[in-house]
């Protein structure tokens, strides 16, 4: 069925191409991650300021850093959104106006919010900011979306609980930009409706204090009279609410055909290696599909690539319908990644084939390493001799952030990354 609101594809020179390419939106927990996300192909990033955002633990941006981030993103034509998606308490009201004005002046493109307090205040004092409704509102039907459209919002992030079919109906009925998650950790509750952390640790999950109590282990019992009957056997893993991380790589074509406006990767707390890996894979998938949707196939190497930075199992969650037990984690809640980030390329000398690299994890001569980045095809090689900045030979690159040099046979570029298998 054709969607009313959007024209998704056109026939150009006898070949169908996607004309409505969705935005690839990436998380950026700090300035370095922002630069990496943009450089690796994100069309937009979302960041947290020092207040009003839901990652109280992330090393959030100062206004100065936000300005610098916006300037960097602008060079690539990328957008910067700031999350201000707490449910505010009275005590959070003072200072809000100044904060929103500062964001507007910093050139931020939009804010992602949940609380009407922040929506209306932004409209009043910082009207240039686009306002996007956060998934914290758990928006799951078209009529509620219609409400927020009438309130003047430019975009809504739907509840994680909406399926492809539901998103399609919403798209057909309401003309508003839709942002949907494609990758990353998830609340297993309806967002905004979980206060486990408030109860268990006196930290307010709706103001960024969530300590992921849903990933802890519990024992399930049934009360019969006064008797407590365990509903598990000795060898059963305990009960947990923990959801596997979302991974919708295989659903990207369907999401593009649905006309979803922005595809969002979750994870402001994740490393630059994670951001670079995930962004570059989805960049490739989106570009390949849009260029030739009718001959598109998912390449196994993309799926493998995503796996290199995954520390939890993944699942498609609600996109295809109701998640079953396979979408949950019982027993162990995370695992080691198969690869680890070993270094960041700072420079490369084509004459001498010497790379200058910032160490991010231990490696030594003889290790097999892999390079990747937007300018290159992934390749592996074995590390030969390693030198420090002053030309002293090293038995290994031992120190975090240490600058080292060694020979790399193929050309690499600044911001390219080196990883090695665990």
């Amino acid at each position: 069925m054709l969607l009313k609101n959007d024209k998704i594809s056109e026939i150009i020179d006898g070949k169908r191409v996607i004309v409505k390419k969705p935005e690839l939106l990436a998380p950026a927990g700090n300035l370095e991650k922002l630069k990496i996300a943009v450089h690796y192909g994100a069309d937009a990033v979302f960041i947290g300021g020092q207040e009003y955002s839901l990652r109280a633990n992330a090393d959030n941006f100062t206004i100065e850093e936000i300005k610098e981030g916006v300037q960097f993103a602008n060079q690539y034509g990328a957008k910067v959104y700031v999350t201000a998606n707490i449910y505010a308490h009275n005590e959070n009201i003072p200072g809000l106006e100044e904060y929103l004005q500062a964001l507007e002046q910093a050139g931020v493109h939009g804010i992602i919010v949940a609380d009407p307090l922040i929506i209306e205040t932004a409209r009043r004092v910082a009207p240039k900011l686009e306002v996007h409704l956060s998934t914290q509102q758990s928006l799951a039907n078209w009529k509620a979306v219609q409400f927020w459209k009438e309130e003047g919002l430019e975009r809504v992030v739907l509840a994680r609980e909406t399926s492809a079919q539901e998103i399609r109906e919403i798209k057909e009925k309401v003309d508003i930009e839709i942002e949907a998650f494609i990758h990353g950790a998830m609340c297993s509750a309806y967002s905004g409706r979980c206060v486990l952390s408030n109860h268990m640790t006196a930290r307010d999950s709706n103001r960024g204090g969530c300590c992921q109590s849903c990933r802890w282990d519990y024992d399930l019992y049934k009360l019969e009279g006064d008797k407590e009957i365990p509903l598990f056997d000795e060898n059963d893993a305990p009960f947990a609410m923990s959801a596997k991380d979302l991974n919708l790589i295989r659903a990207i074509p369907a999401m593009i055909e649905l006309g979803i406006d922005s595809l969002k990767i979750e994870g402001r707390m994740k490393s630059i290696h994670y951001v670079a890996t995930v962004v570059s894979v989805y960049r490739k998938v989106i570009d390949a599909y849009c260029a030739d949707p009718d001959h598109f196939v998912i390449r196994e190497e993309w799926i493998k690539e995503l796996d290199k930075c995954a520390n939890r199992d993944t699942a498609p969650s609600f996109f295809a319908g109701m998640p079953g037990y396979n979408d949950h984690m019982y027993g162990s809640h995370s695992r080691k990644t198969t690869h680890e980030f070993a270094g960041l390329v700072l420079d490369y000398d084509k004459e001498t084939q010497m790379v200058t690299l910032q160490q991010r994890n231990f490696f030594k001569p003889g290790d097999e390493v892999e390079f990747f980045g937007p300018e290159i095809e992934n390749f592996t090689q074995v590390v030969d001799k390693i030198w420090d900045e002053n030309g002293n030979e090293l038995d290994a690159a031992r120190h975090p952030l240490q600058i080292v040099k060694f020979k790399v046979e193929r050309e690499v570029f600044p911001y390219n990354m080196m990883r090695k298998e665990n």
């Binding site: 307090l117 799951a140 309806y190 979980c194 893993a237 949950h328």
Partner: protein, 309 residues
């Protein structure tokens, strides 16, 4: 002095008569198709009967439509709202803006109470929903006394506060109990088993028991303790809080009735004879402790807690 309304959730139509005698001013009812975590399941016929019964005693009836709705139910909201208007329900309790939109279309005079449970956390947002048409805001249970009083000071809508009972800590659309049984390989009879009553999660580290149940709205995990602030009502009565709620979800009918009687006494004394309230309040609390089910310790919720973030 103005007395806050005493609002209770009954388990059945017949329970409404007991609650009237126990001194409730209003009841909240509904069915899980539209409402969340109710003490009883009220079909349309039950709702009609409940309204008649309650009105006979001069009690108000609020009907819960505070679920998070997906597209599939949007088209039937209008019919249910029209029905509620016809039978004379006094207000609809909502969280999802789709309900507000539909009320505007089909029953613009119907009163609305805004209740998302966890997100009514500041006075500005309460007033925002007031401007959109709500007459009342039901505050998040995770607020402390100071925050509640400040909200009331700035509120342009009525303010409802839960003073007794269990609260919801977590709602997922996922079938968490059913999935766990399936994961264990106990596939047989999951459909029936997952809806059984009396299940709880045991948290070893905190030695807490969290009631858990599944219904049409997903999986709900409830607080380990019952709030009880029967002895701490003065400040809120003085501030003019409009409604005190006793939530009876997962409790026995007789327990709810008994608790209602005790709160009736407490509210009356607190408003009319403060000295006597001060004298009697510990005794009232002791009376509730005496009927408390073994697995449900009492506490004061978040009223006197600081949460950080």
């Amino acid at each position: 002095m103005k007395k806050p309304e005493l609002l209770v959730t009954p388990t059945s139509v017949s329970h409404i008569h007991d609650l009237a005698n126990a001194g409730a001013d209003a009841v909240m009812i509904g069915e899980q198709r539209y409402g969340l975590r109710l003490a009883g399941e009220f079909s349309r016929a039950d709702v009609a009967e409940a309204v008649k019964a309650a009105h006979q005693y001069g009690m108000k009836v609020y009907v819960a439509m505070n679920a998070i709705f997906h597209n599939d139910k949007v088209d039937e909201l209008g019919d249910y709202i029209r029905f509620l208007a016809e039978v004379g329900a006094d207000a609809i309790v909502f969280g999802d803006p789709a309900v507000l939109m539909t009320v505007r279309e089909v029953a613009p005079h119907m009163k609305l109470h805004w209740n998302t449970e966890t997100t009514a956390t500041n006075w500005y947002t309460c007033n925002y929903w007031g401007r959109k048409g709500a007459k009342r805001a039901v505050l998040a249970r995770e607020l402390n006394m100071e925050a509640i009083l400040e909200i009331k000071k700035h509120a342009e809508v009525e303010i409802e506060v839960q003073v007794h009972g269990m609260t919801c800590m977590y709602q997922s659309k996922r079938s968490l109990i059913g999935n766990y049984f399936e994961y264990q390989g106990k596939v047989m009879e999951i459909e029936r088993k997952k809806y059984e009553k009396g299940m709880f999660l045991y948290d070893k580290e905190r030695d807490n028991k969290y009631p858990i149940f599944e219904d049409e709205n997903g999986t709900h995990i409830m607080s380990p303790n019952d709030i009880c602030i029967i002895d701490e009502l003065s400040e809120m009565v003085d501030a003019g809080i409009d409604s005190f709620k006793i939530d009876g979800v997962l409790h026995e009918q007789s327990y709810i009735t008994e608790v209602t009687k005790l709160y009736r006494r407490a509210v009356d004394l607190c408003a009319e004879n403060r000295a006597q309230y001060e004298k009697e309040k510990d005794e009232l609390l002791a009376k509730i402790e005496a009927i408390q089910p073994k697995h449900r310790p009492l506490d004061t919720g978040f009223f006197f807690k600081e949460t950080v973030y």
